[in-house]
Symmetry: none
Subunit: 290 residues, 2 copies
Amino acid sequence: MVKAREASGKRARALTSGKAARKEGTGAESAVAPPAIILVNPQLGENIGFAARAMANFGLTDLRLVGPRDGWPNDKAHAAAAGAAFLVERASVYASVESAIGGLHYVLASTARPREMVKPVLSPESAAVELGRRGDKAESCGVLFGPERSGLDNDTISLADAILTAPVSADFASLSLPQAVLLFGYEWFKANSAPSLGRATAFDGPATEGIAFPDTRPATREELLGLFSHLESELDRSGFLFPPEKRPSMVRAIRNMFHRMGATEQDVRTWRGIVASLSRKHAPRGKKVS
Amino acid sequence: MVKAREASGKRARALTSGKAARKEGTGAESAVAPPAIILVNPQLGENIGFAARAMANFGLTDLRLVGPRDGWPNDKAHAAAAGAAFLVERASVYASVESAIGGLHYVLASTARPREMVKPVLSPESAAVELGRRGDKAESCGVLFGPERSGLDNDTISLADAILTAPVSADFASLSLPQAVLLFGYEWFKANSAPSLGRATAFDGPATEGIAFPDTRPATREELLGLFSHLESELDRSGFLFPPEKRPSMVRAIRNMFHRMGATEQDVRTWRGIVASLSRKHAPRGKKVS
């Protein structure tokens, strides 16, 4: 635990801390040390592996196991983790919850069942903010998840500072163990990492919201107006914009569609080609017209 | 599909519409029809079952399968769904993506990879808000999820209005199929579930942000697909889609433009007219061809 705390302290120093700095980030995914994910008496190796995978999806790196039912190491956990097997390999194993959380400053207990305990209840979203705030102050945090069948018992929950409960359908409130880990990790990542979507590749960074224009740019008005004039003159010629009293509203409707499309420069060229091609008497390109 | 739209319309009438009303209530979990979850060529029955379970957690009820690899019904899907087996039992199975989305008005494609497509990218959070807004207007929506190994291919993605991509660690961006469904469902539920008793209100609420469709409605996929097929066959005839090796990317680019346009039923009819008119040998309407 001391080791983990040192590492997290180092990370906090090496990177930046504080929300403002974190929002700007340029390389590091998170400036706060990620909380430990502590699986208490997990039953199925597969679920340990799936949980590890969910952790890796969201930059969580500290997996702790308390008394896994089928012993440790566990081949099924390893296989289910797929690309996140490295987290399974370096998981730490404890004999008791007390020893697993001994070095932490703040602990949440994940449970879907209402408890008769006087203890704050946090949604994953609120928990993520709270853990980020504490991480900024170099506090070490962790989240307890119970065994698949029964969840955390009241004695274990009483060791935690607060309860973590996800919003779920009242008709079907039972989250599987890896899914509960996933939702927490997702909110933690959203709240505490530089925002990016999906996978970064050698060529592309991760996606951001909105429309990207790879290798092109939005069309200028001039380009669009050129397209309008081309299309409308062909439609006049072909007789589509008929009768004359309807022409203005038809033209407006067509122009509005192109505006809504948010056409790129490439799109305008494509449409110029389409209009020219359809307007030609059908002599397919590549064939000689006799 | 008509049935689905009627059902969602009824639901909107029976319950409430509008964000404010939804936030207040106390019983009904959601006032908007939940979007369809469409699994395209899912490989493992277990994952279909886990996805169904994630759907049930968040009040999603419309599971559609396109060509499940191991056939249908599938015992493993049933077993993995546990308490959500009822969703597996009433899943609808389709031979093609086109038929699965034919009755929908707005379709998202879930993918982790940045694509060279000019198509809006939404996070699960933004997608949940967008689908809620469209659901309020009784639009039927759906989200496509690809096969486990490869994800959705570009041709399938080109059938969607926008891309759904979750914020994940760039180092380990691959979400499993049920986990991707879970994150979307979670955000959908957070944004659209009503801790509220459904108060009946008038069917039409006040105006909302976005595009209004007076006297018309968004085009169905079927109508758009009909337009695509008409336009593309004319473009084949006219030689525009040349050379053959470039045809698939040209077709995708054109389809994507129409999706971004958010075409109405009226728009599709207009385009059918434009294509027909431009393709005709120029004999203006209203003049006799001798």
